[in-house]
């Protein structure tokens, strides 16, 4: 059973790696977007899914990653890799400085406080000359979608391996204990403050890398698009749709929702948003614990799974 699962995952990975060789340009571009969204959903999974802190601040990390690459490449004429590293440093510093006060809040208060982070960052960046103020930065173009695709895929593999390690390590158990019961975790010896900040930073590192790759790919960043709060909403929906706190759930969520949204926007163009909303609402009602939970429970309960969830939401 375990071997079978591993083989399936490896086959899926091989297919994903091969996409640029047989896919059309449109498919590759869709792939880059879907892969980066999956990385963001996985990044959110670390702080939101495993640690239980529903962060709305991850788009701030994404923006910092974008601007790390933008500033390094445009203003300092440094290579892309250095820009990525710069973005990572920025987001780690940000996670520590803002995580310490913000992670003291719990539940809704944490969500509200982090909601402001991206907005504040957009306002700050709009006034920084080095970051091109509100006009933004134009990066040197690199017309190589294949490279961006494989980079995004490599990043997704890296974040997923990190989460797989989390799910079976002392650090990950500490995070799960914090999610399940923070006071109980502290009483058992978990350094909750340190663990939360580390989870926030780790989540930020991957979000920043995704932002950096995206910035170089689209060759243009401005405060509006880099610190976009709706991107944060997307990653949460995708992670929760797939199954927060699982190793593969958020990837499945990101891919399936990206595909659904792509099909909708080409089929019913103008009202795609409406249909997408319906899909999300249906998902929340029918499978509140994500796709991963269906896979686990369906064999036991069958179709009753859905009717029971409907009953539980008291519709």
């Amino acid at each position: 059973m375990k071997a079978l699962r591993l083989i399936l995952i490896l086959i899926a990975l091989a297919v994903l790696i091969a996409v640029p060789w047989f896919g059309s340009d449109v498919l590759i571009q869709f792939g880059i977007n879907a892969l980066l969204l999956a990385v963001l959903a996985q990044g959110w999974n670390i702080i939101g899914g495993y640690t239980g802190y529903a962060s709305f601040g991850n788009s701030a990390f994404y923006g910092l990653g974008s601007y790390g690459v933008g500033i390094a490449m445009v203003q300092w004429e440094l290579p892309f890799g250095v820009g990525l590293a710069f973005g990572v440093v920025l987001s780690v510093v940000f996670a520590i400085l803002l995580g310490l006060p913000v992670l003291r809040l719990r539940g809704h208060y944490f969500a509200i406080a982090t909601l402001a982070l991206a907005q504040v960052m957009a306002a700050i960046v709009s006034n920084v000359k080095l970051a091109g103020q509100n006009i933004g930065l134009v990066l040197p173009p690199l017309n190589n979608d294949m490279l961006f695709y494989e980079l995004a895929l490599a990043l997704l593999v890296a974040v997923t391996l990190t989460i797989w390690w989390l799910s079976r390590s002392k650090f990950g158990f500490g995070l799960i204990a914090i999610r399940e019961n923070e006071e109980g975790a502290a009483v058992m010896g978990v350094n909750t403050t340190l663990y939360k900040v580390m989870a926030f930073a780790l989540s930020g590192v991957f979000s920043a890398l995704a932002g950096g790759i995206h910035a170089y790919w689209v060759t243009f960043i401005d405060p509006e698009s880099a610190f976009d709060i709706s991107l944060n909403v997307k990653m949460i929906i995708m992670a929760v749709f797939g199954g927060p706190g699982t190793v593969l759930g958020p990837i499945v969520g990101a891919f399936s929702l990206s595909a659904i949204s792509e099909v909708l926007s080409s089929e019913v163009t103008s009202i795609a948003g409406l249909f997408f909303g319906i899909v999300v609402v249906a998902a929340v009602v029918l499978m509140p614990r994500g796709l991963a939970d269906i896979v686990r429970q369906f064999r036991k309960t069958g179709w009753r799974y859905f009717s029971e969830n409907i009953k539980a939401t008291r519709l």
Partner: protein, 244 residues
Amino acid sequence: MSAILDVQNVTRRFAGLIAVNNVSFSLQPKEILGIIGPNGAGKTTLISLISGTVAPSAGDILFEGKSINSLQTYQRARIGIGRTFQIMRPFPGLSVLDNVAVGALFGHGGGESQLSRAREMARAQLDFVGLGAFVDQRADELGGPGRKRLELAKALAMQPKVLLCDEVMAGLNHVEIDEVIDVIRKVRDEGISILVIEHVIKAIKSLSDRLMVLHHGEKIADGDPDTVLSNQAVVEAYLGKRRA
């Protein structure tokens, strides 16, 4: 004889209410100290003060001769203070085994770093408290008595030097109480000092080496269980004043 835990003139106020008022006592190595008192006497607050989830308004707490007032909750766990909660707080989404493994992974001395080793230790601890058959269940599927034992196993997996038990017998029937008493005695035989808060007077009388009574946050008696339970102030605290 040096006490392992020394509570010195500790006071805790919650706004206008004085939950614990100038309480001093000490716990000797390998001793079982029972604390009783009516509802609202400050028993749970006292345990929270020692484990660090509540900070004292005044006074000092010494562990092995050193003040632990400045230590955070997790640091107190690492020097060897384990506690259970009266309102059971399992990690609901985790299996019974992994709930206890968290104690082994962290806990006294910083815990075990290998998950597989921690699970082995957890399994042994669950067998010890009589939950060996439930290792794979989710913690929130356990019933009340099971959860009480789980609380105990989680604290024991931390390999503490001092175990603080907050009403681990409440809600259990006679047979279950006898089993828990048996477990606590065995824990003491392993060299752990134990502080037990309890409502069930009969149980605590037979278990404790020494008994202390709290009333309205103040210590009103401390000593041999039989003497303490026949003390006039204690009887009044529990049954009210005899009307002349």
